[in-house]
Symmetry: C2
Subunit: 423 residues, 2 copies
């Protein structure tokens, strides 16, 4: 059997040029339509393969798992079946969609039942998130923030190169791409003010991130080594960790960000499996000083994923304000997970672990407005001539990402979110 | 109809002297026995009223809700039915157990079905926790920590009297009283060391806290005012926020506590409703400077709840090391909830919001070993003559709490947890 990742695979489904959803990708999501209740699907070109319908058509009958998982409102039950099942389903779907195979290709009635146009579907939050953790693992981002907010000469804090620094975020306020939200209010204390005020944030910012989804649970007291980590990861998403910088600056000492980060965090709807990303693995960042043994790893643990952020004003075309890459991450997912569990903290299927803002080394690759405009001192110009220091009401922020190699593209689609005026 | 809280109520069930579980209390929990699957119950004296069995006996038939909620493994579905149902059930159970009422009192067969000895039951985590937030709302605790770790002359940080400071904790590692856990490992950097090490925490500490359980959800973008807050709170629990002080000191800058707090957090099994605590309300702390309007409140928003912490070494009787009180809280639950939602952050039924360590003004009332022994400089002596700077392997830490007034006691039972050696 050829691998689902084989670059020579072609699908009989039309895949537009530069589609993120090639036959080598096959990411999982949850969708509904006017006719169909929420269910699991796999993106292919401009279509979705309806996994619930495909299951009813008998295509997974020999795979020996409870097919009801595809009619659930989240992927959690499917994910909990474990990696052998994820792989078997992805392999089977690769075959069903492969130009060399005729089962579905030659069955128009079956296609009518299980191939849905993405334009006719509404994507839903694909997982029920038990806990959400946000890391801070891009060295360029941490350095930029340290330069701006603390000491340019000692931008990185003493623990940063020893610990994949992270904190707990709010799971309830994670939503799926396509949402709108009102500019949040919060307590702020301008530097020249005697007392704080409550009001709409003036410094609304995005954070370009990715996140990974836990695919295998542990019990309290268990640890996960860097070598075991991949078995516990189902796949990756794009993530926009909306932030209110003025609220953050006032509230975060000494216990970290809170209301500045829990009003809306956005994920892309399709979870790209680690298996699909495997061909794009690259060497990790050189870590100096050497990390403690429990954080050491072998092999290529970074991934070459092009990332970009665009701002689309209410009545203008979009402007790309950042081009970054996941390969700039200092700490890998494997290290993040080993660290997260080194004290016996338990993880659950569906937990979300985000990267932290992914900035690259160059100005054009900074992953937040805070860095791009250097705290508002260097505004960026939109296509309509208007300037942005931070994000305006009416703006839509769109995160995109894809890996590409040997003519094969594996992408994430969009993670888009629109800001409405404060209520 | 007399109120469930009426001090004149007496139960026909024997209530031992100083029982936390009087007929004026009637807290909710989830239990199982060797014979019975997990189900909801109400504590009364040394017994549990099995709500699933009581429902089968028809005692709630006229109350018009889905009785299946009592056969669930958590209280979430029951809580989601709303305050009118919580109240109707508590009122009905007060009647069933009242010495003036004969329905259950005179029915031995029914009693055999629905009254279970607590000693024969295992208590389970009563709620599925979506998100867990920890506040930092005791002024004496915040002042003590500031004096020890920062500047004795400016112990409170500038934001502390303006914001009920809080952070997101980990929901997955919250367990129910009666558990054992291994001393966690973590990265620490002793002051005299060049580089950090990974090892079992040397500074394992408890934190005496309470927590409240969200009883009514909101949508993203909604706010909850201090006046509305009580409608969103189902009840309260005791809480021990186990902390690894050496791990915390090294990891927490700049994003707050993480692995120092997510290896084990313990709740007591019985949720005492806000209704049952109503008679024990007292005036709140005088807040100066004046808080912002969204944090103002009227009425008595603190509660007079005696709290204590005991340490029981492996082979010795317990020693009480702290006697504190919930009334020492600077920020009230109503303010915490109004602040938490002022940016539109959504809350869900079953969310847990903890108080932060509750220290009083006197040395005997400090709520953590960090404060009690003043960072280990003033050890406390156990009943067996051994000393404690922090918590040793084999120690069981027990948090207790009760309110008492007019001869009526409403208590929480125990929140107990034992430390095993690191693995």
């Amino acid at each position: 059997m050829i691998s689902a990742n084989d670059p020579s695979r072609r699908s009989w489904v039309t895949i537009p040029a530069n589609s993120d959803f090639t036959i080598q990708n096959l990411p999982f999501g949850i969708f509904k339509t006017a006719q169909l209740t929420p269910r699991a699907g796999i993106a292919i070109g401009e279509h979705i393969l309806d996994l619930a319908a495909a299951a009813e058509l008998g295509y997974f009958n020999d795979l020996n798992f409870d097919l009801a998982v595809f009619r659930a409102t989240t992927l959690n039950d499917f994910i909990a079946l474990g990696r052998p099942v994820w792989r078997a389903v992805r392999d089977r779907v690769a075959s069903l969609l492969d130009a060399q195979h005729t089962t579905l290709q030659n069955d128009a009635a079956a296609q009518a039942r299980c191939l849905i146009l993405q334009s006719a579907a509404t994507m839903l939050l694909p997982i029920q998130i038990g806990d959400y953790t946000d890391f801070y693992s891009s060295i360029d981002h941490a350095t930029n923030m340290g330069k701006m907010l603390r000491d340019p000469a000692n931008a990185l804090l003493p623990n940063w190169k020893h610990i994949p620094v992270g904190y707990h975020g709010r799971a309830s306020s994670v939503v799926v791409s396509g949402n709108q939200f009102r500019r949040p209010k919060g307590q702020q204390k301008p530097a020249d003010a005697e007392v704080p005020v409550l009001g709409p944030t003036k410094l609304l910012d995005f954070e370009l991130e990715t996140a990974f989804v836990i695919g295998r649970s542990t019990q309290l007291g268990e640890t996960v080594s860097t070598a075991q980590a991949e078995e516990h990861i189902f796949g990756m998403l794009l993530f926009n960790d909306w932030s209110a910088r003025d609220v953050q600056g006032w509230e975060y000492i000494p216990l970290g960000p809170f209301l500045s980060k829990n009003f809306c965090s956005v994920v892309s709807p399709w979870i790209v499996t680690l298996d699909a990303l495997e061909p794009f693995r690259v060497a990790g960042y050189t870590q100096e000083p050497k990390v403690l043994p429990y954080l050491e790893y072998t092999g290529n643990c970074n991934i070459d994923i092009h990332l970009e952020v665009a701002i689309r004003p209410e009545a203008a075309s979009e402007t790309v304000v950042c081009r970054s890459n996941y390969k700039y991450m200092y700490w890998t997912m494997e290290q993040q997970l080993a660290h997260h569990t080194c004290n016996g903290c338990n993880i659950n299927v569906g937990d979300l672990m985000a990267s932290g803002t992914i900035s690259g080394p160059d100005e054009g690759s900074f992953g937040s407005m805070m860095e791009i405009t250097w705290r508002g001192t260097k505004p960026v110009t939109m296509s309509d001539g208007s300037e942005r220091k931070f994000i305006n009401d009416g703006d839509t922020v769109i995160v995109r990402g894809y890996a590409e190699k040997n003519g094969v593209r594996v992408g994430f689609g969009e993670c888009a979110s629109k800001v409405l005026p404060a209520s």
